[in-house]
């Protein structure tokens, strides 16, 4: 693969309701921010990828409303409807395909629509939608499948919530840093068994942007480039009932491809820090298994053994993760941004010392129907 790099990053703070800003405002602010970060001007950007969802925005062809704010006047703009990691994947492909630079920008305001309606609308209208299943209840089924298969406890998931909300205090952008105990999580309201309120991510408003550049333009940018060493995504069946929810099959496949591309054979030894899409507490250990950091059913053990703590061998979600801030679509791009900041050595009080290789991960569809994996490095 040609050498391509992330040369700029920007994100808004994440909040429950950003009343004084429209999606247009949010997109403009991170577009301006990412250009400033990279030290590039709009003239250096030759194509733009926006990431949006029409049901979230309540607008047909939602991307059309933010093109101008993304600096897209008279430029080549295209759109990905899905998580930001997938938008960034497409942006990387465009640079590999001959563009010098791609600006990728994602936005969402969970405060403006009804997430239960919107995520219910992910499902098949004939067999699933009318029985009311949506993101939380589907995830509860996945959590139960996972617990049942491997004999896992709710407490082991609660520990993830405790860790990530605590890590959130080190991230100035986080929506919900919290000082919690396992008991707090266990005693929080039961939303959908086995998920309690504090097992679930908040719904946030926010936006994020990155610039991906080819080798030549990575030298023009003022930032230290973060090199894209391996990227892959993979999708599973649409119907939940066709899938084994206790095993992240498509993540296994996507991560193997990304590792192969990056020349990594033992990820647990090669990767210094992980930012993954923990929309619910149980997802972190399940995705760690899919990513090949441990055997199936052993994900919760990585936290019990202290491996995924800030101080551990493989810190996971030092930013506080999605559990601390969850702007839909944006959250995956935020994982790439956090990984980039780690590799630039600019992650402030959440910095993992001497991080050289980082993994960022995003999901799309219910219960991680598709996964996108990024292996990034500070070294070309």
């Amino acid at each position: 693969m040609d050498h391509i790099a992330i040369v700029g990053v920007a994100q808004t703070g994440y909040e429950a309701k950003i009343r004084n800003k429209t999606n247009y405002d949010l997109v403009y602010e991170v577009t301006k921010g990412v250009l400033d970060d990279a030290g590039l001007s709009l003239a250096d950007i030759d194509n733009i990828v926006t990431v949006s969802n029409d049901f979230m925005d309540g607008r047909t062809i939602s991307s059309m409303a933010v093109g101008e704010a993304a600096g897209g006047h008279d430029k080549n703009i295209s759109t990905v409807e899905g998580d930001g990691t997938f938008g960034a994947f497409y942006g990387a492909m465009r640079v590999l395909g001959g563009f010098n630079t791609t600006l990728v920008v994602a936005h969402s305001k969970g405060s403006e629509g009804s997430l239960k309606h919107i995520t219910n609308a992910m499902f098949d209208p004939v067999y699933h939608r009318l029985i009311g299943i949506e993101a939380i209840s589907a995830s509860a089924i996945q959590a139960n499948s996972y617990m049942d298969r491997f004999g896992l406890s709710e407490e082991s998931f609660a520990m993830v919530s405790v860790k990530n909300h605590q890590n959130g205090f080190n991230n100035p952008y986080a929506h919900m840093p919290l000082n919690l105990t396992v008991e707090d999580v266990m005693k929080s309201a039961r939303i959908a068994d086995p998920l309690k309120l504090l097992d679930c991510s908040p719904v946030s408003d926010g936006a994020a942007a990155i610039i991906i550049a080819n080798e030549e333009y990575s030298r023009r940018a003022k930032t230290r480039p973060v090199w894209i060493k391996g990227i892959a995504h993979c999708v599973e069946e649409y119907f939940l009932g066709d899938r084994d929810l206790a095993v992240a099959k498509s993540l296994r496949q996507a991560s193997r491809k990304a590792y192969e591309m990056a020349g990594i054979s033992r990820p647990v030894d090669s990767i210094d820090v992980v930012e993954l899409y923990d929309a619910f507490s149980y997802m972190e250990p399940l995705w760690l298994e899919g990513l090949g950091f441990c055997e199936e059913g052993r994900g919760p053990g990585m936290l019990k053994d202290g491996i995924t703590l800030m101080s551990g061998k493989l810190p996971v979600n030092p930013s506080g993760g999605v559990l601390s801030s969850h702007a839909l679509l944006v959250a995956g791009l935020a994982r790439i941004i956090e990984a980039t900041l780690q590799l630039r050595g600019e992650a402030g009080s959440r910095q993992i010392p001497e991080a050289k290789t980082a993994l960022a991960h995003g999901i799309n569809g219910p219960c991680g129907q598709s996964h996108c994996v990024w292996v990034l490095s500070s070294e070309q």
Binding site: N20, K21, T22, Y28, D74, K109, E112, H117
Partner: protein, 161 residues
């Protein structure tokens, strides 16, 4: 054995007619625009310092200049018809859920002093009495009924036809 015979009228469909709720932020400039209507029965625009274009309603950016805009300008409640269409098919008003009376005239109106064009209803549905280039004036809702949205303007009416 299960029979696969099925009459055409036995094929099923699923009806879904519940609207999804939204609450969209209007933003700072949009809020100022509607407050100006509510307080003074007039419009606001914003000027780009680079290309001098006046956007109405006001917005945060000039797209071609990629310039952030902050020079708000007060605009009158009058303008010129740039284009129009008399619409004759039924349309359910998204605000009320009721059918809007037909025909109605959809107008493309340049407010005096603005470079962009505003869209609203013109209360003239007779093609013999309306033409491009005519001056129109905004008719506002009674102050106590205003809600801070585009329906605070009832319609535009032709001035001195």
């Amino acid at each position: 054995m299960v029979s696969t015979e099925l009459g055409y009228d036995q094929l099923l469909s699923i009806a879904f007619s519940v609207p999804m709720p939204y609450e969209w932020s209007v933003g700072v400039y949009g809020s100022l625009f509607f407050h100006e209507i509510m307080n003074h029965n007039r419009f606001l625009g914003v000027r780009c310092p680079d290309c001098n274009k006046v956007y109405m309603p006001p917005r945060r950016l000039c797209g071609p200049c990629f310039k952030e805009l902050d020079e708000l300008v007060v605009l009158p409640n009058e303008g010129t018809i740039e284009a129009f269409s008399i619409v004759n098919y039924p349309f359910v008003d998204p605000n009320t859920g009721e059918q809007r009376p037909i025909p109605y005239t959809y107008g493309y109106i340049r407010i005096d002093g603005a470079d962009t064009i505003f869209s609203h209803i013109i209360n003239e549905t007779d093609t013999r009495l309306i033409q491009v280039g005519m001056k129109v004036k905004a008719v506002f809702r009674e102050k106590e009924l205003m809600q801070g949205n585009v329906q605070d303007i009832k319609h535009f009416e032709i001035v001195n036809p």
